[in-house]
């Protein structure tokens, strides 16, 4: 049962990683934390679920729609909660995002109802590889997560907007002086982060066959934990953090008991942070 549990963990971890990368993009560029990220993920999940249940669209179209909805939502949140408070320090935007997360959750209850909304299954078959049964859906989810990470890397490393994002992250005044519209970079980083969160939401909805208004809380917490675990500003760190949390959780269920999954996952995180306060792949301190 070890290999199936590893695959379960990897699947779940890859989705935590997508959420965690969102936190990294936002914290990395703006040096701010959002507490509405889980709710953006939830709204993306609902958009995807609606696409599949109401309009009966194929899953990849639903994924695109969930990502687009989350993009728009992220863009608006940045405009409403962050832009007017650019010079207000850390606290006011943080508090506003807490408020926004409550509003979004209640809005979802009003729009979609408090109950679980079913999401149709896809790829229900399993395949056997070397005697081990693997769910095709898990392979699809891993593929989607890996694909998005590769696209993100191409965007950040090899394009004008990616360079502008990295430059803004490291010294936004210098970037500003070089003609980079840093406000636009903040917008794009926030929207991009939300978009990845939305993608994770849609895939989780498909994986568990359900979306529901409070689903963002756990995902937001795990994603944020993975982001801290990985070192706050490191995308590879966030990926590693997400996957480790996912795998540790699943192995805990296998070798200890289901009730300990979160405890052990967070315990491992605390131990690592005590030994390495900057996180797995983090740098010691921000210099900006």
């Amino acid at each position: 049962m070890l290999v199936p549990q590893l695959i379960n963990g990897l699947t779940q971890g890859s989705l935590y990683a997508l959420v965690a990368i969102g936190f990294v993009l936002i914290f990395g560029t703006m040096n701010l934390v959002t507490f509405a990220h889980g709710e953006v993920y939830m709204m993306g999940a609902f958009a995807g679920a609606l696409a599949m249940t109401v309009w009966h669209l194929p899953w990849f179209v639903a994924l695109a729609m969930g990502m687009a909805a989350a993009w728009v939502l992220g863009f608006l949140i940045e405009k409403i909660a962050f832009r007017p408070l650019r010079t207000a320090g850390h606290m006011p935007p943080l508090l506003i995002t807490i408020g926004l997360s409550i509003i979004l959750k209640d809005l979802a209850v009003i729009l979609f109802g408090a109950e679980n909304r079913p999401v149709p299954s896809i790829y229900e078959q399993t395949i056997r590889v070397a005697g081990i049964q693997i769910s095709v859906l898990q392979i699809v989810i891993l593929g989607v997560a890996a694909g998005l990470v590769v696209l993100l890397r191409l965007l950040i490393q090899g394009t004008k907007i990616g360079r502008a994002m990295r430059a803004t992250a490291q010294d936004h005044e210098a970037a500003y002086a070089m003609g980079v519209n840093v406000h636009r970079v903040f917008s794009i980083a926030f929207a991009l982060a939300s978009c990845l969160g939305g993608a994770a939401g849609v895939m989780i909805g498909i994986y568990y066959n359900a979306v529901y208004p409070v689903m963002g809380a756990a995902a937001g917490l795990k994603g944020f934990a993975a982001c801290i675990f990985g070192g706050l500003t490191s995308i590879p760190g966030a990926i590693l953090g997400g996957i480790i949390i996912g795998v540790v959780e699943n192995l805990t269920v296998q070798f200890l008991a289901s009730g300990y999954r979160d405890v052990v996952a967070f315990l491992v995180m605390v131990i690592v942070l005590v030994l390495r306060p900057q996180g797995l792949l983090g740098r010691k301190l921000r210099t900006v």
């Binding site: 907007i161 430059a167 970037a175 500003y176």
Partner: protein, 258 residues
């Protein structure tokens, strides 16, 4: 018409005047030195010019357009590039990346084009790299041999050069250099004078803040002197060297401090 015209600009921080009715002009093709003791308002003036410091009074016209309400990136888009007094490199980016960020304004690839990547995006990227190499050639092999190194691995002097290179990559009409030789040894400082002359020969107008008198006198066509936020005089280097007021304001205070 001058390339840059500053008309009676005043800035105060909480009642303390940092700039008082400063007026000056820079013509196309000039190297203008801006000197004055610490706290004279030189960097504040640079911040006003580059859009970082709002000013309530006065006007700044760059290429005939008022920049009073423009954000830094908009000022940059008009053709004004700057360096900072303290090193402001992007530590975790390569030398080449710095040049490409500098070239930012000349690339039109938006987010969607960056994702879709049509053929013209690749051409634009290739051209940006080509220009980066040409700009780096000004610095000999000091930077071009470290093209893919992270900026944080460079020596101090090379970091300062990299900042100038990054600003040049923007292909500006006017370049603001804020103490480019700060922290350099005398040998490295000499190279900077050469560099400034080369930059001027490329057709870029330069406004230079500098404490090192050898650099100021060697590189400037004209010098403006600020003290306590006021312009006390301007003129040719040899006039300034002999100007009693300058010596009083500038050297006098330094002696007191020493």
């Amino acid at each position: 018409m001058s390339l840059l015209e500053i008309r009676s600009v005043s800035v105060s921080f909480g009642g303390l005047a940092a700039l008082k009715q400063v007026s000056m002009a820079v013509d196309e093709g000039e190297v203008v030195g801006l000197i004055g003791p610490n706290g004279a308002g030189k960097t504040t003036l640079f911040n006003c010019l580059s859009g970082f410091q709002p000013f309530a009074e006065g006007h700044i016209l760059f290429r005939g357009a008022s920049i009073q309400t423009l954000a830094p990136h908009r000022v940059a888009a008009l053709g004004l590039a700057r360096t900072f007094q303290t090193s402001r490199i992007f530590k975790r980016m390569t030398v080449l990346d710095h040049l490409l960020v500098g070239h930012h304004l000349h690339q039109r690839t938006g987010l969607w084009a960056a994702i879709a990547r049509p053929a013209w995006v690749a051409r634009e990227e290739a051209e940006a790299r080509e220009r980066a190499h040409r700009t780096l050639a000004l610095f000999g092999d000091r930077l071009s041999s470290r093209l893919h190194d992270f900026a944080e691995s460079l020596s101090y002097a090379n970091r300062r050069r990299l900042e100038i290179a990054r600003a040049l990559a923007a292909e500006p009409r006017l370049l603001l250099l804020d103490e480019p030789t700060a922290g350099m040894n005398p040998h490295e400082t000499g190279g900077i004078v050469q560099l400034i002359k080369m930059i001027r020969d490329l057709g870029v107008t330069v406004l230079l803040i500098e404490h090192d008198m050898k650099v100021i006198m060697g590189a400037s066509d004209r010098i403006v002197v600020l003290d306590h936020g006021e312009k006390i005089t301007e003129g040719l280097p040899e006039d300034i060297r002999r100007n009693e007021g300058v010596i009083q304001a500038y050297m006098g205070r330094r002696q007191i401090r020493a």
